[in-house]
């Protein structure tokens, strides 16, 4: 069974640009989560999508946004990039929470460098 996949693996952008990161969940998983892992910091929760809707959001500015598609894949968009946005962006997926399943499985991440 394929795990969570993310693309691209690496990305270099400059300040002020916009970026879109993509995630495909494990087959059968309807929830997708996004986390930021900046150098020297732990994983910070960004967003949670379930069945096409945003369910929860972490303490990040509105320039961080995303969406989930009918096939449950997801995009994370970051506008007006700042230097401190440089980080590993991790996507995770889980079975529907309404089934009481809370284990989140992570993808390999997208490494974003903002210059």
């Amino acid at each position: 069974e394929a795990g969570v996949t993310q693309s691209p693996t690496h990305l270099i952008k400059t300040r002020g640009q916009q970026v879109t990161l993509r995630c495909s969940p494990i087959s059968g998983h309807t929830s997708v989560y996004w986390y930021q892992q900046a150098l020297g910091l732990g994983l910070q929760f960004l967003l949670w999508y379930d069945e096409g809707e945003e369910r929860n959001r972490g303490n990040f500015p509105p320039r961080f946004s995303g969406r989930q598609f009918p096939n449950y894949s997801s995009e994370l968009n970051v506008n007006a990039l700042e230097l401190e946005d440089s980080a590993l962006y991790l996507c995770a997926s889980s079975l529907p929470l309404r089934q009481g399943k809370r284990t989140q499985y992570f993808g390999p991440g997208t490494r974003l460098l903002v210059l």
């Binding site: 994983l43 929760f45 949670w48 929470l97 809370r102």
Partner: protein, 115 residues
């Protein structure tokens, strides 16, 4: 609370020894806990989870202990191998309220296994 900190705790062990990695979690309302292993350049890998109605759970070579009185979680790895070298994170989750769906991660512990 959010995970903060720039200096991760470290644990060095000899191959074949047992390892114990500790984690203090922040929210007494947390009712689900997960341990992840993260190798360099990879996403976190699920190891084992435990619900708050349990105080011990065993997997293959791993045991998680939960002490809700002092909000403490530990991961025991039996017969540690060089391939176990990685950063280990604990994460907590609350099944309701504004933290629904969100994993809050600890700062991580670097485990180094010497052959």
């Amino acid at each position: 609370g959010e995970s903060v900190g720039l200096h991760l705790p470290t644990l060095s062990v000899q191959e074949g020894d047992n390892s114990i990695i500790n984690c203090a979690y922040s929210n007494s309302a947390s009712d689900y806990f997960i341990w992840y292993k993260q190798e360099s350049g990879k996403g976190p890998q699920f190891i084992i989870d435990i619900r708050s109605n349990m105080d011990k759970r065993q997997g293959q070579r791993v045991t998680v202990l939960l002490n809700k009185t002092v909000k403490h979680l530990s991961l025991q790895i039996a017969a540690t191998q060089p391939g176990d070298s990685a950063v280990y994170f604990c994460a907590e989750n609350i099944s309701r309220g504004t933290s629904y769906g969100k994993l809050t991660f600890g700062q991580g512990t670097i485990l180094t296994v010497h052959p």
